[in-house]
Point group: C2
Chain length 528, copies 2
């Protein structure tokens, strides 16, 4: 166009008068037109560029509602208390965090502090609080609040599973940096219960604080930084198993923290079953007897019918213990009337086989009393205890706990949690009948409290809460000797004396309730 | 310039002949010049722009060596084995991860498998391996490899300390999203051993899978997304204390994983010290006696001089146990020669106070035997056991362990780890002399192995590795009765019999070494 115009101006020149002026103004306007054209092109490009930028910013920063069928935004709100109560229930208990737990006032339910006289209760509370605090300190409670990772931290690091034995050294896995380029990288690592180092061989100026609680890496190369981080070591310097160190890694304002567990693993206590895996090398039978030597004799005779050489440990706190004529029985004499759980604890303390089978002194072994079946369950699972059946009664019960300020609430519910995989006759529960096979080490670990002198059963499983994994199988059955009074007059006298001890007196009930209040730091108990 | 040229062309016109052609070529070149000028300007701007971009990319992506005094880059290399061996040493042991540990062949050091006959060793190894694997399964070992967080994940999440009781529900803290804008956010959470939900009240289409193992959040608003995440709940559905669930949170290709610990806390077992904190309500003295009733009597007499009513528990496996005339002594009769550690385990199993003081039956209490001082140490620290001094001998020793494939290596070193804060006469160590105060619950938890019938001491502390925190104080002293033979002929006879049992025979040594091999899964032992 410009050329045409130019030619036009030229033509015009030839066709017009020869005054240079007409021609000059034509060329001037042509020049202006060329400049204008270029300016327009330029401006157009600029405007397009700006528009593109604005559009991109728009896309990035503002919310863009797509053509979809989403409803208009709701107000931010939480579920109502009513809706919340419909969730998170188990066995009729609402197992959601609360500051206080409660037990329904009902027959069979107990509020433990009521077992104390009002005059002594305040002093008891103070002592209980002091003992509880000592226990908590020893357990490392309360645990510190959860460690939170922030979004978009330019670090890779281990969040779980880093463990070191006291005074040992480990490599810290997973440390890396993937952040913005910088002329110089200064990354600092800090520990509290140990010292840091790196296996990377570097000039002195590149890594500072080797073998100290603070390690500083100063390097211009992100490649080298990552090589150094990949080989960072942690050395535990405080002899304190069970402690958790918090290690931090920083770059500029970015900080990440992660836990290092200082832990001496529990040493194994294994038992050699011997080359033939004879039952007597695997299992010891344990029982306690009191004023019922005739019943004990019947039990022993029935055991020997099926298991002629399995060791039987008898804890005896009778007034006049009778001799037991059996080379595989170990007979322990206790102070008279020392007590039921003291005897149980004693008997278990003497076992030197992997498993111990608990029986009461008035049981009766039959051909369905297959100890081998119970051994099979414990050998193949991670259970600590597996109960059998006493004349068809498995007495399975669950124990559920709610935490509360003045102590926890414990709820006993009959039944079980779920089936035991691989064993159709067996289930997983919290407590069983008084006929069970257990890992000796587990029973010793929990213990039978010698303070429980008379009637007690559930107490052992409450003491085991958090320590014992319990199962129950209905296919291994032991019988109960008949409860009718003996015809023999001496035996009948003993049985009468036994009954007197065996009755749950008011005083005994009160004592056991006060024990739950103080010893187990419980508030109350419900049962269904 | 263009105008000048233009005018020049015009002037040229006026000054030249009147042929249009000369003029036309002048204007043509002028037009070309204007176009060229603009093209030049344009190209210059373009080139400048490109150069700027290149320069910025250069700055961002490439390494830029500042003017500094850093040396030229070193090759990436690790410290040599020699340099490495100079680090991470403790008590002459190199405590750094190795696949195998070693014990120097030296007098006093033991390689445990050598205690077995070569003919039986292979079978023993197989049995040991099977028992060890059962133990590991029960302990949840091996632990899974550490969980690693990747850099620049747009999520906030909890990395440590999230704990829930079995079958309970908790709020998961710290979940948030801070990533790139998107028209629609689809965030998925997954659990394995529990179900997920949120307390946020949302339309059904916004949160899918409530109460399931997979929760999906579908929302266009990052604000709402974060509100929902802030209120996510986790419900444990498998009754398995000690398990660790791995919960994941995903958005597009970004995934973060974190652990949730399913744990039933161990229930407390507290002891009421009573309103007056009388020592007899805090401490029980325990001892074992065998064929030395006269020495036992001397011990009891010396105890009563200072502690008239503290309960003393006596485990007695003598052939003819002699009656003990003391209303505060509880006397337990065991099968003859049942054994040293069986007796210790028995005595401890009968204690119903918070603390138990272990004494040997040939000790002698003096005015420096202040039980109260030991109680003070345990009351104010987190120690489980605190040893005293027997006639000036504290017998403190450290136990250090190295892990290995065919079993661990254990190293006994005399001395202690460090001072006990707050108690100038006391230190922290692994083992002490046979005069100590302990938490009854801790002693029962570790146990004295009834398989150790004759001479044994260190074995208890090895069994306690990983479970017991041990201290030792030199300021609480008990004396040892003189070892000279009794003048009384009956007593001398008993003492001779005792000595026969007390000697460490070859067979007994062999048995104890084989026990360390099998039971503790140890390879070898060194001592210095």
């Amino acid at each position: 166009m410009t050329e045409e115009r130019g030619r036009g101006c030229g033509h015009q020149l030839r066709s017009l008068d020869s005054t240079g002026q007409g021609q000059e103004s034509c060329w001037r306007s042509l020049r202006q037109w060329i400049h204008l054209k270029w300016l327009l092109v330029f401006s157009l490009l600029l405007v397009c560029g700006l528009l593109l930028q604005v559009f991109r910013n728009l896309q990035e920063s503002q919310e863009y509602l797509p053509k979809s069928n989403f409803p208009p935004p709701f107000a931010l709100k939480l579920l109502s208390q009513e809706e919340l109560r419909k969730l998170f229930n188990y066995d009729g208990l609402w197992l959601f965090p609360q500051s206080q737990c409660e037990c329904e006032k009902q027959s069979g339910n107990y509020i433990f502090r009521e077992s104390y006289n009002k005059s002594e209760l305040e002093a008891v509370k103070i002592r209980r609080k002091a003992e509880f605090e000592h226990f908590r300190r020893r357990e490392g409670l309360p645990h510190p609040p959860p460690m939170l990772a922030q979004p978009n931290i330019p670090f890779g690091y281990p969040i779980h599973g880093v463990e070191v034995m006291p005074l040992h050294t480990i490599l810290i896995p997973g440390l890396k940096f993937d952040g913005t380029e910088a002329p110089l990288y200064k990354v600092t690592l800090k520990a509290l219960l140990g010292t840091l180092n790196t296996l990377a061989d570097t000039p002195d100026s590149e890594v500072l604080g080797r073998g100290q609680k603070q390690l500083t890496i100063l390097t211009p190369s992100q490649n080298r930084l990552n090589f150094i981080l990949q080989h960072v070591t942690y050395t535990s310097t405080v002899y304190q198993s069970g402690a958790v160190d918090i290690v931090s890694i920083e770059f500029g304002s970015s900080v990440a923290k992660f836990p290092v567990n200082i832990n001496q693993p529990t040493i194994p206590k294994l038992f050699d079953p011997g080359p033939e895996r004879e039952l007597r090398n695997l299992v010891t039978i344990a029982t306690k007897t009191f004023l019922r030597p005739h019943k004990l004799q019947i039990l022993l005779k029935s055991i020997r019918k099926y298991y002629p050489d399995v060791t039987v440990i008898v804890a005896d706190d009778s007034e006049k213990p009778e001799k037991i004529d059996d080379i595989y029985v170990e007979h322990y004499i206790m102070p008279f009337g020392k007590g039921w759980f003291a005897g149980r604890n004693l008997a278990v303390s003497q076992v030197s086989t992997k498993y111990v089978l608990w029986v009461d002194d008035d049981f009766l072994f039959t051909k369905t009393t297959k100890i081998e079946a119970l051994v099979d369950v414990l050998e193949k699972t991670e259970l600590d205890v597996v109960g059998g059946s006493v004349s068809g009664n498995v007495f399975q019960f669950k124990l559920l706990m709610e935490q509360g300020e003045d102590g926890d609430c414990i709820h006993k519910r009959s039944g079980y949690f779920h089936a035991l995989e691989g064993f159709p006759s067996c289930v997983v529960t919290s407590g069983v009948v008084n006929f069970f096979l257990a890992h000796t080490e587990s029973l010793q670990r929990v213990g039978f409290d010698p303070r429980l002198q008379r009637v007690a059963h559930t107490e052992f499983f409450i003491d085991g809460l958090g320590s014992l994994h319990v199962g129950s199988c209905s296919n291994v059955v032991v019988n109960h000797q008949p409860r009718t009074q003996s015809s023999d007059s001496d035996q009948a006298t003993l049985e009468k004396a036994y009954s007197r001890f065996r009755t749950n007196t008011q005083e005994q009930v009160k004592f056991k309730l006060s024990l739950h209040y103080f010893k187990n730091h419980l508030q109350c108990y419900t049962q269904k």
